[in-house]
């Protein structure tokens, strides 16, 4: 199952019980969304190709007591960044379901990549950020969003990825540190890269919560000399920067090695793995 379907199916279940939940899409579908639309037409809005208006409408709905989930492709959600800033300033519980971050749409060219969205979202006030690596994790995130009622960005990967977590898993501390990783420098990553690093035999910690950086993660890192932060984003302001800042703010002197995308327009053709390979991942 794809992450988006797992996430939407969970929202669907919650929306049946809570008519305050409204799902808005900027012309992006999913099989699970077809089911949702069929059963709950009064709690779904097809906004057309209008990401900016969709965000503003969601703000108005939230101010009037609704619980809006807004759904668009990651690169195009970013065009509504100024409106998302407005949403964050209003302090409303909007959930931004951002499908296809990083190089998810590999081969489509730079207009379809979201290599800077994490850096942008990190600067918003009142906003939590998660990037999922599996469908069960996406379902857990959906349940978490319904429960907490905070403005949240849910960055969901495209395609079917291997499942790493049991059904019904919770989000716990915002990261998953396998017990097998002891006494070595861990590789911190999220989303698609978790799978790529695992396949390469790296000791990978899945840091699915990027904002705020999990405090418990800082505790685990404080005893280490060195960690490696890997991200399918541009370096400035991204995942590695978040780790560095969180460590620095706590006076933790653990060194951080960073690996990010080259900071330039990406014009090359290729699959996601081929592009990552060419960039030295």
């Amino acid at each position: 199952m794809q992450q988006r379907d797992a996430f939407i199916a969970e929202i669907h279940r919650a929306a049946v019980r809570d008519n305050k939940i409204v799902f808005l899409s900027a012309d992006l579908g999913a099989p699970a969304l077809d089911d949702y639309r069929r059963e709950l037409p009064a709690q779904f809005i097809h906004c057309g190709i209008s990401e900016q208006s969709m965000v503003n409408v969601a703000v108005g709905m939230a101010l009037a007591g609704k619980r809006p989930f807004i759904y668009a492709m990651s690169p195009f959600m970013l065009r509504a960044y100024e409106q998302l800033k407005g949403a964050a300033n209003h302090g409303v519980p909007i959930v931004v379901v951002s499908a296809g971050p990083g190089l998810s749409y590999a081969g489509a060219g730079p207009t379809h990549y979201a290599n800077e969205d994490l850096a942008c979202y990190r600067t918003l006030v009142n906003t939590d950020i998660y990037t999922c690596s599996t469908a069960n994790q996406a379902a857990a995130l959906a349940r978490h969003c319904v429960r907490t009622g905070r403005m949240t960005v849910a960055r969901l990967e495209r395609g079917e990825l291997p499942e790493l977590y049991a059904p019904g898993v919770d989000l716990y501390d915002g990261f998953h540190w396998p017990e097998s990783i002891q006494g070595v420098a861990p590789w911190l990553a999220c989303g698609y890269l978790v799978h790529r690093l695992k396949a390469a035999g790296k000791p990978v910690v899945d840091v699915y919560q990027q904002n705020p950086v999990p405090p418990a993660l800082m505790s685990r890192l404080s005893g280490l000399d060195y960690v490696i932060a890997v991200e399918e984003q541009y370096g400035p302001g991204g995942f590695g920067a978040a780790i560095l800042e969180a460590l620095s703010d706590r006076g933790i002197r653990t060194r951080v090695g960073r690996k990010a995308l080259p900071h330039r327009a990406i014009y090359e053709n290729g699959t996601r793995d081929q592009l990552l390979e060419s960039f030295g991942f």
């Binding site: 906004c47 209008s50 900016q52 503003n56 409408v57 108005g60 101010l63 409106q83 209003h90």
Partner: protein, 215 residues
């Protein structure tokens, strides 16, 4: 509150602050004064939004002190009203966004009357049209949209640049275009595009009942 009274109070606040988007505020006053107090009013061009403050004061939501401290350090009334001020429904100021907020509020409760004032300048913002299409598609009968048309934008007249397709607005049944006068009532401001920004008036003014108004 009658138009002349609201105009006077806005003038006094602007002069007291020695700053403000005077031309736009004096232009929108007559529209704001005409809105049913029971309606949720979203003033999308936030630079005109201070015209709401005297009404909030009248309803007891903000104090004499708040009005006196408008735009002053330590005061809580900002040039662009925001959600943190009692009685202000949304934070507006970035042009084009208020109409979407109003759509969302109106959609969430179709029994709630919502009025959104937008400016003609906002018709240059693409997101305005996105939200107008949303309102039409969702048949938001409880949302009334009023375009404040005073024939002025910062650098001149709208017709001098991209000509606004006014006839396209005919497809929105709950939208009306209201002709107003930029900076109405103050010689230094009236009809002047440069009064989008602050121009210190040479003398104080007392705004009296307009023809047709009755005490």
């Amino acid at each position: 509150m009658r138009e002349h009274e609201l105009r006077q109070k806005c003038f006094d606040m602007l002069v007291g602050a020695d700053d403000g988007h005077c031309g736009s505020v004096m232009s929108v006053v007559e529209i704001v004064a005409s809105i049913d107090p029971e309606a949720t009013l979203v003033i999308s061009p936030g630079h005109e939004g201070m015209s709401l403050y005297p009404l909030l004061h009248e309803r007891g939501l903000i104090t004499d002190e708040d009005i006196a401290q408008f735009r002053k350090p330590g005061g809580r009334l900002t040039m662009f009203p925001h959600k943190g001020i009692p009685g202000v429904p949304t934070s507006c100021g970035s042009l084009g966004n208020g109409i979407g907020y109003a759509c969302g509020i109106a959609w969430a409760d179709r029994s709630r009357p919502v009025v959104c004032i937008i400016s003609e300048g906002e018709l240059y913002e693409g997101v305005t049209w996105e939200s107008l299409m949303f309102a039409r598609h969702q048949n938001l009968d409880n949302l009334r949209v009023i375009v404040n048309k005073n024939d002025a934008i910062v650098m001149g007249k709208p017709a001098d640049c991209l000509d606004i397709p006014w006839r396209a607005l005919d497809v929105f049944p709950r939208l009306e275009v209201r002709q107003t006068v930029k900076g109405k009532g103050v010689p230094e401001w009236e009809g002047k595009t440069e009064s989008h920004y602050w121009i210190k008036p040479q003398q104080n003014h007392v705004f009296t009942l307009a023809p047709g108004e009755h005490p």
